[in-house]
Structure formats: structure tokens, C-alpha cells
């Protein structure tokens, strides 16, 4: 609160050996340069998304006449008309399709993968290690490989274009990562806990449901958020397996891309609507998101 005496050597130089005066000046200047560079880089990453938001909040006429950055001198031009037009145009249906695809997929992936991961981590059966290596191998199989075979398979059983078809495809391709992530976490659960439960005569189902699953919560949360975003943001699978009635937002927006210039009102507001939920989830659960990503980086 009183006057500050000599600047204390805190911050990035803390713990470093004393430097010469010249060295300290160089450091100070260097740190100033770093600050400026980082601010510029931060802007570089922030500005494109900001541009999308502003464009989505201005009318078609204004957007075709001037750049979005003029908003700083004319804030009165902001309008929500693009969003009200978008909602009136039936985009809401594709929003709910996205939800109807994403939520069941996430739940199914977690449930099915947790069971398999438990078997891989804590059960003995012949060929276990080899099978798990197969799962590791499947981690990076490109989904393109399955588009043609599954399209004809779906055509045969009559679920082509339906939401369940899209969901099942997502679940299958979500499983290798999910099993890998959960198995590696379950393996770290103390053996004594399971041993005690087995001694007490608990069934495997009971151990799975009341010991392993609850203890695995951090990993399941990571997996859940990651899987949710992955499916929510998917375009390719929807492009092939959804029809106009079951299409999620990504496919609905893609169909407007051909006339980008004249559809910029729908595209900008639609794109922003599609990313608002992922952004909220990201800020709320970023820790789990980062963890899931780090765990999956073996991919």
C-alpha cells in the first residue's frame, strides 16, 4: 500500500541467479516484447471467431457493404434478425437432430466401452492382450473405410438416413478410443478394492456398477465431454448417413455453402448457434476436455 521500493525479482525470474544490470534490462525489454507478441497472437486467435459473431448480428445489407470491424464505430447496427429468420426457417429441427444424435451416442459409448474396459482391465480370458492391441490398432482407422460398406448394409436393413443409423456408426467408431481411455484408467484402481468386493461375494456386475464405474468418474467425464463434442461437431458421417429429415446442424449448414455470399446471414448465425453449446461445455469442463485429449493423444 505504501510506496514501492526496489522491484522485487518475482515472476519469471524468480529463483534465477542474480544477473548483471545489463542482463536485467535485456530481460525486461525481452519480457515487454513477449507481452506484445502474445497479445498479437491472442488477437490472431480471437478475432476470426469474433468476426463470425459480429457478422451473425448484422443484416445482410450491412454485411455486403462493409467489414464487420466497422461495428466498433456503429454499434447501433447490431440486430438479431438473422437469428429470428434462422429459427423461423426450420433450423431448429436440425438442432434437435444434433441433440438426438449426440446424447444417445455419448451414453452408449460410455456404457459399452466401460464394460469392455473393465473386462480388459480386471478379467482374465484367453487372448486378452492381443485383443487389446487390436483395439489400439483400430484407434486411427479412418472412418472413410466404413462409409461405403455401411451405406449398403444400412440400405439392406432399411435404416439408411435414420438417426439410429447415424448413432450406431458414431458409437462403433467412438469405441476404440473410449475402451483405450477407460481401460488405462481402470487398471489404476487399487486391486485391494476389487479383491475385497470379490471376497464379499459381490457379482462382477455389482463390482462393475458400484466400484469400478464410480471410481472411474474422472475418466468417464473426460470421455463423455470428448465424445459429445466429437459427435456434435461431426459433418462427414451426417453427410453420408443422414437425410434431410434426420440431418444435424453441420449438414444443414453445409447444404447452404454453395451460395456463401447470399447465405452469409444463415451460415453465420447457424454456425454460431452450432458452436455455442460446445463453447459453453468447453469453458465449463475444460479440465476434463484437456485430460481426455491428452489421454487420447496416443491416437
Amino acid at each position: 500500500m505504501t510506496t514501492v521500493s526496489a522491484p522485487a525479482p518475482v515472476g519469471l525470474e524468480a529463483g534465477a541467479p542474480p544477473r548483471s544490470l545489463a542482463g536485467r534490462i535485456v530481460d525486461r525489454l525481452g519480457s515487454g516484447v513477449v507481452q506484445v507478441v502474445m497479445v498479437l497472437l491472442g488477437l490472431f486467435w480471437l478475432v476470426p471467431t469474433l468476426g463470425l459473431l459480429v457478422v451473425s448480428l448484422r443484416s445482410v445489407q450491412v454485411n455486403s457493404a462493409e467489414g464487420w470491424w466497422t461495428i466498433f464505430t456503429k454499434p447501433a447496427e447490431l440486430t438479431i434478425e438473422n437469428y429470428s429468420n434462422l429459427l423461423a426457417s426450420g433450423f431448429t429441427a436440425s438442432f434437435w437432430n444434433t441433440v438426438a444424435i449426440t446424447v444417445p451416442t455419448t451414453i452408449l459409448v460410455i456404457g459399452i466401452a466401460a464394460m469392455a474396459a473393465y473386462a480388459f482391465a480386471w478379467m482374465e480370458f484367453p487372448g486378452r492382450d492381443t485383443l487389446f492391441l487390436v483395439v489400439v490398432g483400430l484407434l486411427i482407422v479412418p472412418i472413410q473405410i466404413a462409409l461405403i460398406p455401411i451405406a449398403s448394409f444400412y440400405g439392406g436393413i432399411g435404416i439408411f438416413g435414420s438417426i439410429p443409423g447415424v448413432v450406431l456408426f458414431h458409437v462403433a467408431f467412438g469405441l476404440p478410443f473410449a475402451i483405450f481411455l477407460l481401460r488405462n484408467f481402470f487398471v489404476g484402481i487399487p486391486a485391494s478394492l476389487l479383491e475385497a468386493a470379490r471376497m464379499d461375494g459381490a457379482s462382477e456386475w455389482k463390482i462393475f456398477a458400484s466400484v469400478v464405474f464410480p471410481l472411474g468418474k474422472p475418466a468417464i467425464a473426460s470421455l463423455g465431454i470428448f465424445q459429445f463434442l466429437w459427435v456434435w461437431n461431426d459433418m462427414l458421417i451426417a453427410l453420408v448417413f443422414a437425410n434431410p429429415g434426420s440431418q444435424p446442424m453441420t449438414k444443414a449448414l453445409q447444404s447452404q455453402m454453395r451460395q456463401f455470399g447470399s447465405n452469409v446471414d444463415i451460415l453465420s448465425s447457424g454456425a454460431f448457434m452450432s458452436l455455442i453449446i460446445p463453447l459453453v461445455l468447453f469453458f465449463a469442463f475444460q479440465r476434463y476436455f484437456v485430460q481426455g485429449m491428452m489421454a487420447g493423444s496416443v491416437k
Binding site: S31, M38, L41, W45, P48, T49, G51, L52, E66, G67, W69, I112, M115, A116, A119, M123, F125, L133, G137, V141, P142, Q144, I145, L147, I148, P149, I150, F173, L181, N184, F185, V187, G188, P190, R198, W232, N233, M235, L236, V240, Q254, M257, F260, L267, F272, S274, P278, L279, L281, F282, Q286, R287, F289, V290, Q291, G292, M293, M294, A295, S297
Partner: protein, 464 residues
């Protein structure tokens, strides 16, 4: 701040468990598991736990691999056996070769840029106090769909510098360093009466100019859309002893007016570069003001010829055609870097945090410079993380689809094409040739195969 704790998350012990750390807790249960066997469940029960996953993986992932290999040997109708014909098409068709060339550019450029940027960001964030905010901003695009990222960059890359921010920034920077105003198709007024004449695409005075006598430079042919909005009525500069004059649009709207003289309502041409030339050498340059007047300060006495260089009569700089055939792939790679740099940064930052501080301090005490510490200690210790990031990016670039599909306008998609996109186009996007599509899918699988084997080997080594 809560956010800080969250972003420090990767350092806490639970992360190492979920991260499948090789030497971490994973070892403990494995070694202590043996005695459990007698208590363990029967293999039949294990099969019950595995069954749903096995069915899904078998039908949706493994069977399609086998089916695709088979299907790739047949023609588009699926009835005529063509052997390896579809694969031959991949390597002979001209459009396909462009596609493969683009994938090569992607695989070479994108992983290097992303990994390098991630490393720079990770190191620099250690030197700022608001590193959490920075990490959040750079990491955010990871949560956004590539579809939305594509729309975002379509807007960024709009060619009109009044609409696309990329060209707006480029033109602003460009105009800061050189003449901001160009007058294409404008020219000096010709004729015996005129004090100037055209020369080398520019204009030059016929007579030598003297300080104190304002020089008139009449220009015609300025198109209405080109006239800058800040142009003021032309007027000659107030006398004085310096070399001065006026460059103006010698045209009176609605007719009338005298040629080669400044009439009422005629406007000056701002932003013109004027050179004073003596004996063929440029002795000084000036730029016209809003009323078209210019003034050379501090020129030694003498007789000069005044010249308007050609650059005045070229179109103003309008930035780059990002979405044209030449720049489209680099432009999309730019969007890819924007999306993935945060991933690289967070992973590398976690690796950086795990480096023992003692090693760095010891080197500093021994007199190593920061660069030496970085080059000789930090980077080698980080190399496993850098490799993971690099390989992940290679796999991602091989599979890149959404960004190309969304950012490249349909007219330039052939120039921007990549294997994953071509696979979709050929099989579903109008091509309707599922034989060739299957061959492309297998080709893609073969491209990622080395990394699949690498993953398996690494996993075996780490869990041995």
C-alpha cells in the same frame, strides 16, 4: 482463480492415470493382479462384458475393412472385376495426382507448423502472467466444429478488403509502407497547351520547375469510383520559396471550365507521389495533400523536372486472392493451424511442466544462455511429447476433410482436393463410383498403417 487450477489439471496425478502413463500407477495393479486369478470371474463372463463392443467393432469397423478391399477390385457398378484398376486410376488420373500432391503438401507443412507454433506458445506462455487466458483463447477452436471453423475462415478470407479481415490487414500494412492511393486508367492531359506529358506509364513536366512558381499537373480520366472520398477542391499551394504545385483532376462536372487551369469545383488528387528529378536522378519525393497540393521541403536551388511515377497509375493494392486456385491449400492449412495449435500448445506445455527445474537451473548457473538452455536441454527433454504431437498431426492431415470441403469454393475444389474429400466425392458426392471410392479408402488406410503399427509397438513397449 478456478480457471488456473483447471488448466493446471494435466499436472495433477489423476491425469497421469487417465493418460495411460507408462511408468505410473498402471504398473502397480498389474503386478499385484496375479493372486486374484483364482477369485476372478470366468472367461464366459468376460465375453459377456465384451460382447456389445465386439459386435459393434466387428460389424462397423473390421468387416468394412475386409469388404472395402474386396469392393475396390470391382468397377463402379460392382459387377465387373477390374483387379487393381482402381488403384492404377489413383496414380494416373490427372485430378487424382493433384489430390495426392495436395496431401503431400499438407503432410509436410501442417505438422511442422503446428508443432513449432505449439512449442513457441508453450514456452512463451511461461513468461506471461495471463497465460491461462492465452491458453483458453488459443485452445478454444478445438471445441468448435470444423464446419463452423470453415465458415469462420470463409469470412476471414473474403477477397474484398472491405469485407475480409485478412486482406483488410494486408492492405493496411501495405499502404502504411507505400503509396496508398492508385489511379488506374488516369493519365496526364495531353496537348500542346498542357504543361505535362505522358512518359513511361507516368507523367513528367515539359518545363523545368522553379521554386516559388507553383507547378500545375492536370490529370484526366479519373474514374468516378476511384476518386478518394477525402479529396478536396483543388487549390494551388500558397507561394513561398520551395518547389511546390498541385496535381488535380482537370475536369469540371457538367461541362465548362478551362483546360490546364484549376476551375471551381475541380478536385485535387490526394496520395499522388511526386518526384523532383535533376539530371536523371530523383532528388526528392513528396505526396499530395487532400487538395492535391504538394511541396518539397529543403531542396537545394536549381531547376527540376517533376515526375509522377507509374505507381500512381496502377490499381491500389487489394490483398491476395486467398480462395483462388494458387493460394487455396496454404489458406486452408492456415485454418487448420488455427484449429490445432492449441492442442499442440497444451500437450507441450504439460511436457514442459514435467521437465525438472534443476536441470535448467544447473545449466543457467554454468553460464548457458536462455537459447542454449532451450536448444540443448528443453527441446531434447521434450522430444517424446513433440513426437506425439507431430505424429497426431500427420494422421490428422492425412484424414483432413471438413476444412477443405467447407473453405474451398466449389469452383476451386479440384485445386484444393485431398484424398479424404475425393473419397467422398467419388462415392457419394456425385461420382457414384464406389469401386474407386473403396480403393481410395484403402489407400487412406494404407497411409495411416505405419502409425497404427507404431502405436501398437509403443503400447507394447510401455506396458511390457
Amino acid at each position: 482463480m478456478a480457471v488456473t487450477e483447471r488448466f493446471n489439471g494435466p499436472q495433477d496425478p489423476s491425469e497421469r492415470v487417465s493418460g495411460g502413463s507408462p511408468a505410473g500407477p498402471a504398473d502397480t495393479p498389474r503386478s499385484s493382479k496375479k493372486p486374484l486369478r483364482r477369485l476372478g470371474p470366468s472367461p464366459a463372463l468376460a465375453i459377456a462384458f465384451l460382447l456389445p463392443a465386439a459386435v459393434l467393432l466387428g460389424v462397423w469397423v473390421v468387416y468394412p475393412i475386409v469388404y472395402s478391399i474386396y469392393r475396390s477390385l470391382f468397377d463402379s457398378a460392382g459387377t465387373g472385376f477390374v483387379g487393381l484398376g482402381n488403384y492404377a486410376t489413383i496414380f494416373s488420373d490427372e485430378g487424382m495426382l493433384t489430390t495426392i500432391r495436395n496431401n503431400l503438401i499438407w503432410v509436410v507443412a501442417a505438422p511442422i507448423v503446428v508443432t513449432t507454433l505449439g512449442l513457441i506458445f508453450a514456452v512463451l506462455t511461461e513468461r506471461i502472467r495471463w497465460s491461462t487466458a492465452f491458453k483458453l483463447i488459443v485452445f478454444m477452436p478445438m471445441a468448435v466444429s470444423l464446419m463452423a471453423a470453415g465458415v469462420i475462415f470463409r469470412l476471414v478470407y473474403e477477397e474484398d478488403p472491405d469485407k475480409g479481415i485478412a486482406n483488410a490487414v494486408l492492405t493496411t500494412v501495405h499502404d502504411t509502407f507505400s503509396s496508398s492511393q492508385g489511379y488506374p486508367e488516369a493519365r496526364p492531359r495531353e496537348g500542346d497547351e498542357s504543361p505535362v506529358t505522358a512518359q513511361g506509364g507516368g507523367a513528367i513536366t515539359k518545363q523545368a520547375a522553379q521554386p516559388g512558381q507553383p507547378v500545375l499537373i492536370p490529370i484526366v480520366g479519373v474514374k468516378p469510383g476511384i476518386m478518394p472520398s477525402d479529396a478536396q477542391p483543388a487549390k494551388p499551394p500558397a507561394g513561398g520559396d520551395t518547389l511546390s504545385g498541385t496535381v488535380w483532376f482537370d475536369f469540371t462536372a457538367g461541362g465548362g471550365g478551362t483546360n490546364n487551369a484549376i476551375d471551381d469545383g475541380e478536385k485535387g488528387l490526394p496520395g499522388m507521389t511526386v518526384e523532383a528529378v535533376m539530371d536523371g536522378r530523383v532528388a526528392g519525393t513528396a505526396t499530395t495533400a487532400e487538395d492535391g497540393s504538394f511541396r518539397f521541403a529543403g531542396l537545394p536551388a536549381g531547376s527540376y523536372v517533376l515526375r509522377l511515377p507509374e505507381s500512381n497509375f496502377q490499381a491500389s493494392y487489394n490483398g491476395l486472392t486467398w480462395l483462388g486456385p494458387t493460394l487455396i491449400t496454404p489458406a486452408i492449412i492456415g485454418a487448420f493451424v488455427w484449429v490445432w495449435a492449441g492442442f499442440a500448445m497444451v500437450l507441450i506445455a504439460a511436457g514442459l511442466a514435467a521437465i525438472p527445474r534443476d536441470a535448467l537451473e544447473a545449466a543457467r548457473i554454468d553460464g548457458a544462455t536462455e537459447w542454449q538452455v532451450f536448444r540443448r536441454i528443453t527441446v531434447p527433454l521434450l522430444s517424446p511429447v513433440l513426437l506425439v504431437v507431430f505424429v497426431t498431426m500427420i494422421i490428422n492431415t492425412l484424414k483432413v476433410f471438413d476444412l477443405v470441403f467447407i473453405i474451398a469454393p466449389s469452383s476451386v475444389q479440384p485445386e484444393a482436393n485431398v484424398v479424404a474429400l475425393e473419397m467422398w466425392r467419388v462415392s457419394f458426392g456425385g461420382g457414384n463410383n464406389q469401386g474407386l471410392g473403396s480403393a481410395l479408402a484403402i489407400f487412406l488406410l494404407i497411409l495411416v498403417l505405419p502409425f497404427m503399427i507404431m502405436n501398437i509397438r509403443r503400447f507394447r513397449r510401455e506396458n511390457a
